[in-house]
């Protein structure tokens, strides 16, 4: 469903992502972890078509993000870390704009907008201008918009920022349910507990390289330290004092 094929991205002399090869199948929830500046956001931006790889290719549902970005976007829903809305549109108008942009038939759009408004409890403020929304309300609206066209792949960049605990729980349940139904979720997060609880597989990126790829259980086996906490495993892998070439745990 998602394929990174020997993807490298450079910023001038700096390599942000180095030779990333990764395939995420249908129905998997994948969590990308890593310290600040590890290359997570660059990876996500390449996945949603905001950045082009310097080398290699990124494909979603078989569509290359560089060669056929529009077809690829039909299959992607994206929740960015900073939700972008039209301040002078209401929540409902924004959802209609997104539905129209994805060419959804009228009856289906009406049905799905009503469902997402109910699901994310947007009804109370759906007809207010977005300029009056709090960060949490914005994030909920963006979640609703990203799921409107029933994408094959949902890309989440720090999805829980601004959400209250109840909303976090609902989003977790939603992700679990959608992945069971076949949706692939690619999530970048600093919330280790969430990755531990939800992810089928985790990837840990350090200095542009994927240092670990596998399940949390596999990570524990490979590191072989006396701990049950993902936090300690993560700190072990991403230790900045461990200079020199990146050691892979796969």
């Amino acid at each position: 469903m998602i394929e990174f094929d020997h993807v490298t991205r450079t910023y001038g002399p700096k390599t942000a992502v180095s030779d990333l090869t990764l395939a995420i199948p249908r129905g998997e929830l994948f969590a990308l972890l890593g310290p600040n500046g590890a290359g997570k956001t660059t990876t996500i931006k390449m996945l949603v078509g905001l950045l082009r790889p310097s080398r290699g290719a990124v494909r979603v549902s078989g569509f290359d993000l560089v060669k056929d970005p529009r077809s690829a976007h039909l299959h992607i829903g994206y929740v960015p870390d900073e939700p972008t809305l039209y301040e002078k549109l209401t929540g409902r108008e924004f959802l209609w704009f997104i539905a129209d942009m994805f060419g959804m038939p009228r009856h289906l759009a009406t049905q799905r907008i009503a469902a997402e408004i109910e699901h994310f409890e947007l009804g109370e403020f759906a007809d207010d201008l977005a300029e009056s929304y709090s960060l949490g309300m914005r994030q909920r609206l963006v979640f609703a918009a990203s799921l409107l066209h029933d994408p094959d792949v949902l890309v989440l960049d720090e999805p829980m920022v601004g959400l209250d605990p109840r909303s976090v729980r609902i989003v977790k349940d939603l992700l679990a349910c959608r992945t069971r139904e076949g949706m692939t979720v690619f999530m970048s997060t600093h919330t280790l507990a969430m990755a531990e609880e939800m992810a089928d597989r985790v990837g840990i990126m350090v200095r542009g390289q994927l240092r670990f790829l596998g399940t949390v259980g596999e990570l524990r086996e490979q590191i072989a330290i006396e701990t049950t906490s993902l936090e300690q495993l993560y700190l072990e892998i991403t230790d900045p004092k461990a200079s020199g070439p990146v050691r892979e745990f796969r």
């Binding site: 082009r52 560089v66 299959h75 994206y78 972008t84 549109l89 997402e116 066209h149 609902i170």
Partner: protein, 597 residues
């Protein structure tokens, strides 16, 4: 959120079953609907929450339009009677310079809209065509770049038609002519912008600077050669002929500005009979068709370029590494921080911080340089106009007013929002051992001293070039100091009194109610200062320096023009300056002390 996980389960298949890529027509209609909806919402918000501001804007615009119309009507009546052929040159010079400005302004605005805006980032992640996104953002950039042309150009062209007693067809063709003309330079600007970002993203600032310098150099050379070598008396027929002969470069037939001015002149032509009228109209429509065809061709080219380069350019630009600053603290900043007592150091640190932000914000200092540079150029050439001595004093005061008005636009646009923006970062300043008053005072000092040097320098240049006596120069400089002080006080004081802590864009903060009020108060203050100082000084110069005999001895006018009269008016100017400085500042300080961010 509802406790059910999903009211609508996944369809299970590919979204292609329920979604489809839109045709270009459908996408265009969708963007049009979006724009209409946003415009309608903005208008409704304004009508409900900012009626005063909207009324003020409409009223001021109408007054501005009417004044311009009157001015142009007089000018065209004068030119029509003396130098009818000059109008074509005038149009060509005006439209060609406008064309250059539109190329740059649309290019710069489109750069912001297409590559740096959050909207573009959103649209890039949706299945939208690159050329549709371009067209959507282009319309926005073109509108923002050209509304000034509509406001400036429409009274001029309407006045021309009325003075020439043109047919209704001329007035009906005005808007199509203006719109089709504006599209051409705007599209050229957008093509240059996209090409530069896609193919030389790292050199775009250098390329733009080089273009701006080249165009400024060309403009300076043209203005210098046109004005410095004119020997005839100002405003005479010979003066016009000599000046415009040097601007004949703008009459190139390949320039869209020539098509526009020729088309308008043909449309305005009043034929002696039907045959002549039809011939003129046919000619006008041919020029309009030429503009439309070229505009459409350029749009096709721009759309093609957007399809091929937009995503590439966006990606290249996003991959740029910001340059690292080699010197953490400049010598000037260091000097400023260390000057004075230790007690005043926090205040100086705040001023240095604002100075750094100003230096690193290209949009601020480039506008500052352009406006004050153009004024300097005009003042430098003041002597070339050979004004009669009777006019010199009046022109000196008008120049003072112009300097004040330009400074007021800067204080409103850049100084007024400073407190609001500081409010957003209040958690930084609020935790420092700095008294809130010092924050307000630092803004005032920054604005006052920042404006003082260029403004006083420009006024001095203007007076020296006009050959005004030393006494007049001193009066103008005192007025200038008071203007700098008062304008800074109004902008900082009202900015602290009416902060907008939710808004992050300084442009939006300054265009709010507080910003509008600040601009209006500033304009009134300038008018009061200049009129208070100008009247007695002008009378004094008229009665003493130039030997005029218009003022009867013994009357109040004579007293107003005497030394005590001038000293009284100057004292009034100082009082006005102090009131304009300290009243808004006191209000602002009090409000800022009680502010709860």
């Amino acid at each position: 959120m509802s406790d059910t996980v999903s009211a609508l389960p996944r369809s299970g298949g590919s979204p292609a079953h329920s979604c489809r890529l839109l045709s270009i027509d459908a996408e265009s209609r969708l963007f049009l609907r979006l724009r209409a909806r946003v415009a309608w919402s903005s208008l409704r918000s304004m009508l409900s929450s900012a009626r005063l501001r909207l009324s003020l804007v409409i009223l001021l615009s109408a007054m501005f339009w009417a004044s311009l119309y009157g001015l142009f009507a007089e000018a065209f009546a004068f030119l029509d009677s003396l130098h009818a052929e000059v109008i074509s040159l005038l149009f060509n010079a005006f439209f060609s310079s406008l064309m250059v400005m539109l190329v740059f302004s649309t290019g710069i605005l489109l750069y912001g809209g297409l590559y740096c805006s959050s909207e573009a980032r959103l649209l890039m992640t949706l299945p939208a065509r690159e050329d549709s996104i371009y067209a959507h953002k282009f319309q926005e950039a073109m509108w923002f770049a050209s509304w000034g042309f509509i406001l400036l150009g429409s009274p001029m062209l309407v006045a021309y038609g009325i003075v020439r007693h043109s047919e209704w067809t001329y007035f009906a063709l005005l808007l199509p002519f203006m719109v089709s003309f504006v599209v051409i330079p705007s599209t050229i600007g957008s093509i240059c912008c996209m090409a530069m970002v896609a193919w030389m993203p790292r050199l775009r600032v250098h390329a733009l600077t080089a273009c701006l310098l080249a165009m400024s150099g060309l403009g300076l050379w043209l203005a210098w050669s046109a004005l410095s070598s004119v020997k005839a008396d100002s405003m005479s027929a010979a003066w016009f002929e000599q000046t415009f002969a040097r601007l004949a470069i703008t009459e190139q037939k390949l320039l869209p500005s020539w098509w526009l001015s020729s088309g308008l002149i043909e449309a305005a032509r009043v034929g002696a009979n039907d045959k002549e009228r039809w011939a003129a109209l046919r000619e006008a429509i041919s020029f309009l068709a030429l503009l439309v065809a070229n505009g459409m061709l350029l749009q096709l080219l721009a759309g093609w370029l957007a399809t091929r380069t937009y995503r590439l350019g966006y990606s290249e630009l996003a991959g740029e590494v910001p340059a690292r600053r080699q010197r953490p603290i400049g010598w000037f900043d260091q000097m400023l921080m260390n000057a004075g007592s230790a007690a005043g150091r926090p205040l100086r640190l705040l001023v240095v911080k604002d100075l750094r932000l100003f230096r690193r914000d290209i949009s601020q200092w480039s506008q500052f340089m352009i406006f004050f540079g153009l004024l300097g150029l005009y003042f430098f050439n003041a002597r070339s106009f050979n004004y009669n001595n009777a006019y010199a004093s009046m022109i000196g005061f008008l120049n003072l007013a112009v300097v004040g008005l330009i400074l007021s636009t800067f204080t409103t646009r850049f100084v007024f929002p400073m407190i609001s923006l500081e409010g957003r970062r209040f958690w930084i300043l609020g935790l420092l051992p700095v008294h809130r008053d010092q924050i307000v005072w630092s803004k005032f000092l920054f604005s006052f001293f920042g404006g003082l040097l260029p403004c006083c320098g420009l006024v001095l240049l203007s007076d020296v070039m006009l050959g005004l006596p030393r006494r007049a120069i001193i009066i103008h400089e005192v007025c200038c100091v008071m203007l700098c002080m008062g304008l800074s006080g109004i902008a900082v004081g009202l900015g602290a009194k009416m902060p907008d802590l939710r808004e992050s864009s300084p442009a939006k903060i300054s265009s709010g109610f507080g910003g509008t009020l600040s601009l209006v108060m500033s304009s009134l203050f300038i008018m009061l200062v200049v009129v208070t100082a100008a009247l007695p000084t002008h009378l004094f110069l008229a009665t003493h320096a130039f030997g005029a005999t218009a003022v009867a001895p013994g009357g109040w006018l004579a007293w107003a023009g005497s030394t005590p009269g001038i000293m009284t008016s100057l004292s009034a100017v100082v009082v006005l300056g102090l009131v304009a400085t300290f009243v808004p500042l006191a209000l602002g300080l009090r409000a800022f002390r009680q502010l709860e961010p």
